[in-house]
């Protein structure tokens, strides 16, 4: 498949000292939903705004749909739909007026009614933007991006601060856009969002891509398949014990997390009996024992030693 967006060795330095993006390369294919996953301050917004042509990179190349921002920005603007992380639209305009305003900027927009229906804003069409709920505002923000009939949709933290139902509604909208052949690039710090919505993603930390692939692939490669978490009384989480846990059958990685020992394992049914034996031999007792599917969070923690939500 052809690349919708390509960037090579992007760097962005603010005020000559803060390095927000440090040599970042991506290739987003036409028709896929690509996610930039990373904690706050990782450089996601800077990256997406460079790709959107709203920020100048300090160095590096960007190509969108085969064009560069320098030579063809006007045409590119017609092809892209953008929802910024934080835009407060005019509160005293109605939903319909806002959508029609944005539609008027494009040479061949979609009809406002169609967009109102698609984003389930029909009953709020004549309400002032100031009276909308958080989820409705976010859908309106996406509506202003979709009304231009874009080929690529950029969403920067589209569901931050939304309730679960509003998040699902937005996910459906994104999928519908994709099913009609659109390409989506989104940033998020929610691993579940990345996991469910994105075909492929890049995990970003300190302005660099630290891992890239499909969610399943990343989890397979880096998260282990399952995670066994437990707490054993009577022993500290010292290095000697960590060595002990690592020797258990099927264990791929060991880490300590807030008093818990987390084992990345391939097959829980072989590891757990061995674990129980080992704990018993030590003369200590098991406080908790849970197993779960590995997630992108585990991938991130494995790669950085930190959680996504921490600084």
């Amino acid at each position: 498949m052809a690349a919708a967006i390509q960037c090579r060795d992007l760097r962005k330095t603010y005020d000559g000292k803060v390095e927000a993006v440090r040599g970042l390369s991506l290739e987003i294919r036409t028709g896929e939903c690509f996610g930039l996953l990373g904690p706050n301050g990782a450089g996601k917004t800077t990256t997406i705004e460079i790709l959107e042509g709203l920020l100048q990179p300090t160095s590096g190349q960007v190509t969108v749909l085969g064009h560069t921002w320098q030579e063809n920005s006007r045409q590119l603007r017609e092809w892209l739909g953008i929802s910024l992380q934080e835009t407060r639209l005019s509160e005293k305009l109605t939903v319909r007026e806002t959508i029609e305003l944005f539609a008027s900027f494009y040479s061949q927009p979609r009809s406002s009614d169609e967009v109102l229906d698609q984003l389930q804003l029909r009953e709020k069409a004549d309400a002032w933007v100031g009276k909308l709920s958080g989820g409705q505002r976010q859908r309106l923000a996406v509506a202003t991006a979709l009304v231009g009939n874009p080929r690529i949709l950029f969403l920067d933290e589209p569901t931050t601060g939304l309730d679960p139902q509003s998040r699902r509604q937005l996910w459906d909208i994104v999928r519908a856009f994709q099913q009609n052949g659109g390409t989506v690039l989104l940033t998020t710090h929610y691993m579940d969002e990345a996991e469910r919505l994105c075909d492929r993603l890049a995990i970003i930390d300190h302005g660099q891509v630290i891992a890239e692939g499909t969610p399943a692939d990343l989890i397979e490669r880096l998260g282990g398949h399952h995670v066994v978490e437990f707490e054993a009384s009577g022993n500290g989480n010292d290095g000697a014990n960590a060595d002990l846990w690592r020797t258990l059958p099927g264990v791929e990685a060991v880490r300590h997390d807030d008093g818990l020992v987390c084992l990345s394992v391939r097959e829980p049914h072989t590891t757990i009996p061995a674990l129980l034996d080992a704990v018993e031999k030590q003369g200590s007792a098991l406080q908790h024992l849970t197993t779960r599917q590995a997630s992108l969070e585990d991938v991130f923690v494995r790669l950085t030693g930190r959680h996504l939500r921490e600084e």
């Binding site: 042509g53 709203l54 910024l84 900027f105 009939n149 699902r168 999928r175 519908a176 599917q293």
Partner: protein, 388 residues
């Protein structure tokens, strides 16, 4: 195992899709465009921006006050404070005493009796009233046709009152004037302070409304990241700035019309120039200050900083441009500097048009000053504008 993991993930995904599909009509079906494709013309964006801005202003209740109530209150207050006192009545105090009645009788018999208001008071009260400015003159009779005046040569009303009262008393007492003089009264609408004031207020109001209206709106939109959102679309940046500038025009017509109408109705002001010409001047002024307002707000990130800037830009014009008093009072050396200020050009042109009926074609240099301020500011604003 890997396959199983993938399958699970896809299951979850399908399940969610189905749950939502049951709740709501399928988004995919609706997403299919079924209406004929729309095409926007060159000016669709400009037009929508202009209409959106107008609607926003119309829905902002404060606008009513600043645009309509405030200028009228200002005109009313100043018009009353500086109204021409009817035939310049002078208030004097006559010190109570045995011959005080003689003074009052003489004034009553004098030709100037209608323009002198006399109160009979004890000496300390009379002098106190004089000191406080309530009386322009104190007259004390010393008996046998001899009078003493207390007056302050530094107060022009006092000097006038002295001359007037002295003349009244002298002629009532039988003075014959050696010369025959005649006067023609000239105190008609057109030469009063309010006539000078109203065009100045119109000019100032056009400036205030354009600068504040635009400066605040721009910085507010910048803070809300709305400007950034706009430039993420194919919107033409010049269209946006032009729409913001032009959004002042309709309000300008209301403001100018209201002040003119108010001057006519309440102060019986005579408007010599055609209203259409005055509105054209107002439009030129509004666009010129819209340009200056855009330039003032082209970089500011916060409302506080733009407020300071706007005041800084407007302050010299409030003082020098002849809103409340003529700039002729400033030294002639700086008149050329004052005359190139846009508000001076607007006020001078408004006064010439309203009070003298001078056509715009007779004052091209004032038009040129307004066009240059507006045009150059607009171009610089477009160049330096911070959209993010």
């Amino acid at each position: 195992m890997e396959d199983g993991r993938l399958a699970r993930r896809q299951d979850t995904r399908t399940n969610i899709g189905m749950t939502v599909a049951q709740q709501t009509p399928t988004p995919e079906a609706q997403a299919k465009p079924n209406s004929p494709p729309l095409r926007n013309g060159r000016w669709a964006g400009y037009w929508h921006l202009l209409m959106a801005r107008m609607k926003e202003m119309q829905r902002e209740p404060e606008v009513i006050f600043w645009v309509f109530v405030f200028p009228i209150l200002l005109a009313l207050g100043l018009g009353i404070a500086f109204r021409n006192k009817p035939a310049d009545v002078t208030s004097i105090a006559v010190v109570a005493g045995p011959n005080a009645q003689d003074v009052l009788d003489l004034i009553q018999r004098s030709p100037q009796k209608s323009s002198i208001h006399a109160d009979l008071l004890d000496r300390p009260l009379a002098l106190k009233g004089f000191r406080l400015g309530k009386y322009d003159l104190v007259v004390e009779s010393e008996g046998k046709g001899s009078f003493k005046y207390f007056y302050d040569p530094a107060r022009s009303e006092s000097v006038l009152s002295h001359a007037e009262v002295d003349s009244a008393l002298q002629s009532a007492a039988g003075r014959q004037n050696p010369l025959a003089t005649a006067v023609v009264v000239s105190s008609e609408p057109g030469s009063r302070y309010i006539d000078f004031l109203i065009p100045g207020l119109i000019g100032m109001n056009v400036m205030n409304a354009a600068m504040w209206g635009i400066g605040f709106a721009i910085v507010d939109m910048r803070q809300r990241k709305l400007l950034k959102r706009f430039v993420a679309t194919p919107m033409r940046r010049s269209d946006f700035l032009l729409a913001i500038a032009c959004s002042r025009l309709v309000l300008m017509i209301l403001e100018v019309g209201l002040l003119l109408g108010f001057g006519r109705l309440v102060f019986h002001m005579r408007v010599l120039g055609p209203v259409l010409t005055i509105l054209m001047l107002g439009a030129l002024g509004a666009l010129s200050f819209a340009g200056v307002g855009l330039l003032t707000a082209c970089r500011a990130q916060k409302i506080e900083s733009v407020s300071g800037l706007i005041n800084l830009v407007m302050m010299p014009m409030w003082v020098f441009s002849g809103v409340f008093f003529s700039y002729e009072r400033f030294p002639a050396v700086i008149h050329p500097l004052i005359k190139v200020l846009p508000l001076t050009a607007l006020n001078d042109a408004l006064r010439a048009t309203i009070l003298e009926g001078t056509p715009l074609t007779a004052q091209p240099e004032r038009m040129l000053i307004l066009v240059l301020w507006g045009g150059i500011s607009f171009a610089l604003a477009l160049k330096w504008f911070r959209w993010t």
